[in-house]
Symmetry: C2
Amino acid sequence: MKITKPTLLLDKQKCRKNIKQMTEKAKRNDLIFRPHFKTHQSRQIAEWFKEFGVEKITVSSVEMAKYFSNSGWKDITIAFPFNQLEITEINELAEKIDLKILLIHPESVDFLNKNLTQKIGVFIELDCDYHRSGIPIENLEEIDFLISAIVKVKKLKLEGFLTHSGQTYQTKSTSQILQIHQEVKSKMIKLKEKYSSQFPDLKTSIGDTPSCSLADNFSGIDEIRPGNFVFFDVMQYKLGACKAKHIAVSVACPIVSKNEQRKEVVIYGGAVHLSKEFILNEDGTRNFGLIVKLTENGWSEPIEGAYVSSLSQEHGIAKVSKENYNDFKIGDVVGILPIHSCLTANLMGKYITLEGEEIHHM
Amino acid sequence: MKITKPTLLLDKQKCRKNIKQMTEKAKRNDLIFRPHFKTHQSRQIAEWFKEFGVEKITVSSVEMAKYFSNSGWKDITIAFPFNQLEITEINELAEKIDLKILLIHPESVDFLNKNLTQKIGVFIELDCDYHRSGIPIENLEEIDFLISAIVKVKKLKLEGFLTHSGQTYQTKSTSQILQIHQEVKSKMIKLKEKYSSQFPDLKTSIGDTPSCSLADNFSGIDEIRPGNFVFFDVMQYKLGACKAKHIAVSVACPIVSKNEQRKEVVIYGGAVHLSKEFILNEDGTRNFGLIVKLTENGWSEPIEGAYVSSLSQEHGIAKVSKENYNDFKIGDVVGILPIHSCLTANLMGKYITLEGEEIHHM
């Protein structure tokens, strides 16, 4: 395959292995596995999940639900606060598939009561200290009130409680991630128990990739919804949720210039390819991606001391070590492991496997 | 127009006024106006430039040069370090249009000598302290060497010296921007003068929107290449390069949730719509966009004390003031002025004018 400009490479073997491992973990723990498809947004990669027996999925928008519904997926949770402006599309989807949405506010229940034409499932979104959206899990009054509103509407089927513990992304150690997992799990179980006599079938659903990758104990939880594990990325690697060798995507970028004094390599690969997501290096500088050597069969481990230090629209600046500087040659192509693979895949718009096959992105 | 999900609104009147003002400034200062089209990437918006007499343009990739060449543009500078891997596409383009590229390294000249099939123009890219790419302007030895290599190759026409002073984006006041402009101008003029007896036709080309918007004195400069001014954005506003009322794009985002305790509004509009570009507020917190009220004829000035404080893939969290909190209602649509309009337009993929017309994006 001849690479002439930024190209999103997908290592299909690594990706399938990531899918296999999470699927097996879910099975081992007797969990409903409802992977989040917002990371790959690809009907072809979705098929690989199907091969491992996955039938239920999570998406982050109505548009994505439509895309996967059109590819034959029949059981979809839109893990995003219900957007009443999309009621027409939601009704259309609910006619065709087993659709589930998230509710937080009683006024949404009123709206659905008036405007829903189909029966749909609803999860109550809870906030377990991430503070993005959802009812604070301690606020039993609001939860009670919402449940009583939901059960009055015949077209709404109360599925259970759902939370996303995105605060695991702000941790500094795997033990902190496991501690958050433990706390969130306890709170969710306690809530489920509170309603168990009245609603014995309510499910608890949790989601973030760091917890789902690192934790081994899910007892009391019914469903997991990780997404990013399908590719992983530098953020997950730095969090300890994966090893560098598990990262299944890299952006192949031509080297177009160099600066010996600053030990910098200029790549064709910028914010419109990688996204401006960064992590902080230990010295406080920004890191927009790790650098790997492209090989016959994929790519190497990250090159010691090399990282993308800044991004313009199309330019990337890679800092490299004195020892490695001369290995980078104008006209060569290097690989960049993305900080956040969901955003990179969304920007790149398609994948090329190591075998040269083009894989669709929504 | 019924908005149900994140939608990139374009105020055509503001946009045309921005184009008109920069065109007139270029004329007043007897400058070649070669606007950078990487901001809008739209053949339709390009036509508005044509109406103001613009014939020469700048782009940031070979792909973009092809796109605009296909729309009839005949004089294009690719303001990005020459990428030898795209030589086939460059030869194809040079067959059809007056193409100019940037050179930094003598090995690129060797490569072009062997592989170029068409005559093309070349600018030497100089680094005037931005430290992204280009030969440091003080390094006369390297500049001399590159010029002597270029003039030996018949298919290369030496056009002049080009620089991008992106360091204006790191300033804290308009006086700092004007000082950088003055320094860069002086250095470029001095360099041009050094070569004027040998090469009397060499041009000096500068580019950044902050300098081009704020400066009034361009004497000694031949060409300007600003791009972002076509829309402007919050970054330009904060730099003082425009007023808020000049920002010609906003992302219309549905409100999907609220949190009274934190005075936060959750919008459908995330990193895949706005990009993760941010500026820092005075208190050091991140700001991913300012919030405006959508009106019959466009949008309001930014709402006092309201800004996007964090972004997930599809969620945006807006912090609002205690006084304004109740004005934000679930099911309403608010406008977000983007931090960096180039990246937002690239993500959104198309524009809708206030009149409801759909405008293409590459």
